[in-house]
């Protein structure tokens, strides 16, 4: 079978790294190639792509980044958050760069580093874990990622380990003559009672055109706790695809804050599945969508077992000719009694030409549940604006203040402080253009 038209280039063979010699991994890659061919290019008739056309993505002719990029540490400097004290993993165009990373002082029982390296040194640690959460029936872009699966971040915490500092993943894209494609693959495993904090940051080194198609699998054992913050600040021309697969064990706790500000065209798929009772999942998000930007967020929270709690809270600010799509789904399976789920999506539309399409769905098959969702779309409150103006504040500043107030609810939840400051500054900068 031939691959889906438009994606032939994406499936170019990965370089002969250690993973290429593993039978089980080759089988997974081959299955993914078949799945890509079988799926074809989804059109807007398909519900998952109803509001987002892939034609702009396909027109770009992205080619996989195969040449390793050598960067001097100074080049990375402007993209660092100086006060952020973290274990640092730096990927450039999808590949781990040891020279830029900082992994000293990891406690025993913890493995943090490059996926490619671990595939070479201890593949058995990955055999039953890679693709275990994403599962065999993968969506097109996850299958494309799996087909070329090679490098990315891997973080494995043994039972009861509590990581003292956050892990900071910086994914840096460096342009070339041809528009490049990076498909990093990340795996985070927290065994029973482990605790960790992961900060994912996606940035471009230049303002160039490139594409990132990342996949992250998170496996939380019983009582594990993961704080996860994802900051997408890609370059203004970039294309960004991200799929997050999270599996929650009994009484585990997953908290994720998703900030999406960059890229010309971005799609995020967040899939959370409860497999153990009494687990808690808290998803928050903030998106800013401006001139000619498209941002598409899909959530799929699957309550398979009783007594779990999930919160989905997403806020968006739209301006220019920006367009945002929010498609959230909460599913409560037949036996998942005493589920408590609440989904909220609030949107602020600042000017004419912006568009928001939102679809918060509930699918409930159990009766003893408490589920709700709410959505609002509106402009800035003229009365609040008037109040600020009557106190001598100019219109642009007043609008910016109100927008920042709207965003603060999500921004304030970010931590550590250095990260919060960094993101708030970026958001403030963009709102300056918007208002």
């Amino acid at each position: 079978m031939s691959p889906a038209p438009g994606f032939e280039q994406w499936l170019a063979p990965a370089p002969a790294s250690a993973g290429g010699r593993l039978d089980w991994l080759q089988t997974q890659r081959a299955a993914a190639r078949l799945s890509v061919a079988a799926q074809g290019v989804p059109g807007t008739k398909q519900e998952a792509w109803r509001y987002t056309s892939l034609s702009r993505l396909l027109e770009q002719g992205f080619v996989p980044a195969v040449e390793p990029v050598t960067l001097r540490p100074e080049a990375l400097e402007p993209r660092l958050i100086p006060e952020l004290d973290a274990y640092r993993v730096v990927l450039v165009n999808g590949r781990f760069v040891p020279g830029l990373s900082a992994l000293e002082g990891l406690p025993p029982g913890v493995r943090v580093g490059s996926l490619a390296e671990l595939l070479a040194t201890d593949p058995d640690a990955l055999k039953d874990r890679l693709n275990a959460v994403a599962g065999p029936d993968q969506s097109l872009f996850t299958a494309l990622n799996t087909a070329g699966l090679d490098d990315g971040l891997v973080a494995i915490m043994g039972p009861g380990v509590c990581l003292p500092r956050p892990i900071e993943l910086i994914h840096l894209s460096v342009g070339a003559a041809a528009p490049l494609l990076a498909q990093p693959r990340h795996l985070v495993v927290l065994e029973t009672g482990a605790q960790a904090h992961l900060i994912e940051r996606y940035v471009g080194l230049t303002d160039g055109l490139y594409c990132t198609n990342s996949v992250l699998e998170v496996m939380l054992g019983a009582d594990a706790v993961l704080e996860h913050q994802r900051v997408q600040l890609e370059s203004p021309k970039a294309f960004h695809l991200a799929a997050l697969y999270v599996r929650l064990g009994a009484a585990s706790n997953y908290r994720c804050i998703n900030i999406a500000v960059g890229a010309a065209w971005a799609r995020t798929d967040l899939r959370v599945r409860f497999t153990g009772e009494d687990a808690v999942c808290d998803l928050q998000g903030l998106y800013l969508v401006g001139e000619r930007q498209l941002l598409d967020i899909h959530l799929d929270v699957d309550h398979q077992v009783p007594r779990c709690r999930s919160r989905e809270y997403f806020k968006g600010i739209l301006y220019g000719k920006g367009r945002a799509v929010f498609d959230g789904r909460v599913h409560v399976a037949r036996d998942a009694q005493q589920t408590d789920a609440a989904m909220t999506n609030r949107n602020l539309v600042l000017c004419e030409g912006a568009e928001i399409d939102t679809k918060p769905q509930l699918e409930i098959e159990a009766d003893d549940v408490k589920c709700s969702h709410g959505t609002t779309v509106g402009e800035l409150d003229p009365e609040q604006l008037f109040y600020l103006r009557s106190r001598g504040i100019g219109a642009p500043l007043a609008r910016r203040m109100l927008c920042l107030g709207f965003a603060a609810e999500v921004l304030d939840a970010l931590g550590p402080e250095a990260l919060r400051m960094h993101v708030a500054e970026e958001v403030g900068h963009r709102l300056e253009q918007a208002t």
């Binding site: 679809k359 918060p360 409930i364």
Partner: protein
């Protein structure tokens, strides 16, 4: 949850309105092709343009495949095994009630719709549709004095072709969807209402539908036109006889409201839902749409859906005129193996248009239901407002309730709100009622009625009482 034996007995009780009246029918053999469409048109004595419109619809339908996107499950329908026309034999057409087949009148009486009494007591004009031909129309003269036309659509096509022609298919064109195309090709009969400029219709208009004769799909076509400044309230209610095979019902309803006009359309639907295993029962695949063409016009849909094996309908409003208003109030009950995928579409095109959606879903037993709604604010619809509230109540561990709202906003001055909750009847509420001496059944009935009150109060009085009764009967035994 345990179910007491008494309750069990009520749950398994047979459908009260189930019976087949044995009268001779003039029925076409099963199958659908140009010949059938020509035969239907000829039997109706329709003008030439109507036959052409039907044939266009048929040719378009033949290129289409049935939609599968709704969250309902049923075996594929063999459209060639359905008979597309069935008219009760009634000679040369009755001139008064005395001439109507006594068997027919008996059917109405069994359903508790004594036409004569209703005429006298409630002041409601009844255009009763028995299968496909309108056999009784009352109070026509009184309505005529007001200038209101209320008749069977086949009659309207014969008597007022120039009035019907520009409107029929203008809100729901035959290209709209699979079942609308089918209806446009083979619709048998239905209701036509025309309210002239500035007239307030002197009474509530009502049509009782009843499906009869085995294996005949019923394809109703309703067209209501309210001219500038007029008002009309229309009531639609249905029951059906018990039968084994699934029966397809694919109606199309078109409403047109001109400047300052208001149309209120209320439905109580209680068709045969199938037996405990989900066999039999009506497939209710309906396209209902209202067009607020004029400024400040208003269209309001109210529905109480308790019957049918599958309900699949989205009464919609196109808010074209500036300051026009759309409303949708719905109570849907699914129990046994019933499935419902219902909701509304509010398409805001004009400035300062507003819409309200209140949807109450009750799922019991193994019932499955979906609220599916669309609120679209077009780029030019400045100042548009929408408020949506959709709540689901779950009774029993094997039912399911889904909410799928689509909200598409292209104008920054628009304001939309959507709220939805899903829960079971709270134990606290039940305990409170029980502690004051109410039985569990009464307590549930009271709570459910409270849950639906917002919708019921939109119904005309007679309907509200009927709907409330229907709801409590529907849910009898659903709770233990």
């Amino acid at each position: 949850m345990t179910v007491s034996p008494d309750v069990e007995a009520i749950v398994t009780s047979e459908y009260e309105h189930g019976f087949v009246t044995d009268i001779a029918s003039d029925t076409l053999p099963p199958g659908l092709d140009e010949g059938v469409v020509r035969a239907i048109s000829a039997r109706k004595g329709e003008p030439e343009f109507m036959l052409e419109a039907r044939l266009r619809a048929l040719r378009h339908w033949q290129t289409m495949t049935p939609p599968r996107w709704a969250q309902v499950h049923y075996p594929p329908i063999d459209f060639q095994s359905i008979s597309y026309f069935s008219a009760p034999k009634s000679g040369d057409g009755p001139k008064s009630l005395d001439e109507i087949d006594p068997k027919l009148l008996e059917t109405y009486n069994k359903l508790g719709i004594p036409i004569e009494e209703q005429m006298a007591l409630s002041g409601i004009a009844v255009d009763a549709v028995f299968d496909s031909v309108s056999v009784a129309t009352t109070f026509r003269t009184q309505l005529a004095a007001a200038g209101v036309i209320f008749c069977a659509i086949s009659e309207a096509l014969r008597d007022y072709p120039d009035l019907v022609r520009p409107y029929l298919g203008s809100v729901v064109p035959h290209t709209d969807n699979f079942y609308a195309a089918l209806n446009a090709a083979v619709f048998s009969d239905g209701t036509f209402v025309y309210v002239p400029k500035g007239v307030r219709c002197p009474m509530e208009l009502s049509t009782y539908f009843r499906i009869n004769a085995r294996n005949t799909g019923q394809f109703e076509r309703t067209l209501i036109i309210a001219e500038a400044g007029s008002y009309v309230s229309y009531l639609e209610g249905c029951t059906a006889p018990m039968r084994d095979e699934n029966q397809l019902h694919a109606a199309v309803v078109e409403l047109i409201a001109m400047e300052d006009a208001e149309i209120k359309y209320s439905t109580v639907q209680n068709w045969y839902p199938g037996d405990a295993q989900g066999r039999g029962g009506i497939y209710n695949f309906v396209t209902k749409r209202g067009d607020c063409r004029g400024a400040r016009s208003k269209i309001s849909w109210t529905q109480v859906e308790t019957g049918s094996a599958i309900t699949w309908k989205y009464p919609s409003c196109i808010l074209r005129g500036d300051d026009s208003v759309g409303e949708f109030y719905s109570v849907a009950v699914t129990k046994g193996r019933q499935q419902a995928d219902t909701g509304t579409k509010m398409i805001h095109l004009g400035r300062n248009t507003s819409s309200t959606i209140v949807s109450k879903g009750i799922a019991a037993g193994e019932g499955e239901q979906t609220y599916r709604g669309l609120v679209r604010i077009a780029a030019k619809a400045a100042g548009a407002r929408n408020h949506t509230q959709c709540d689901s109540l779950l009774i029993g561990a094997r039912c399911a309730a889904h909410t799928v709202p689509y909200i598409e906003v292209k104008n920054p001055t628009a304001q939309t709100e959507h709220e939805a909750t899903t829960s079971k009847i709270s134990d606290d509420q039940l305990f409170y009622c029980r502690s004051r001496g109410l039985t569990a059944e009464d307590a549930v009935s009271m709570i459910v009625n409270g849950f639906c009150k917002e919708v019921f109060k939109q119904l005309p009085m007679e309907f509200a009482v009927e709907a409330q009764k229907l709801l409590s009967i529907s849910l009898e035994g659903a709770v233990g």
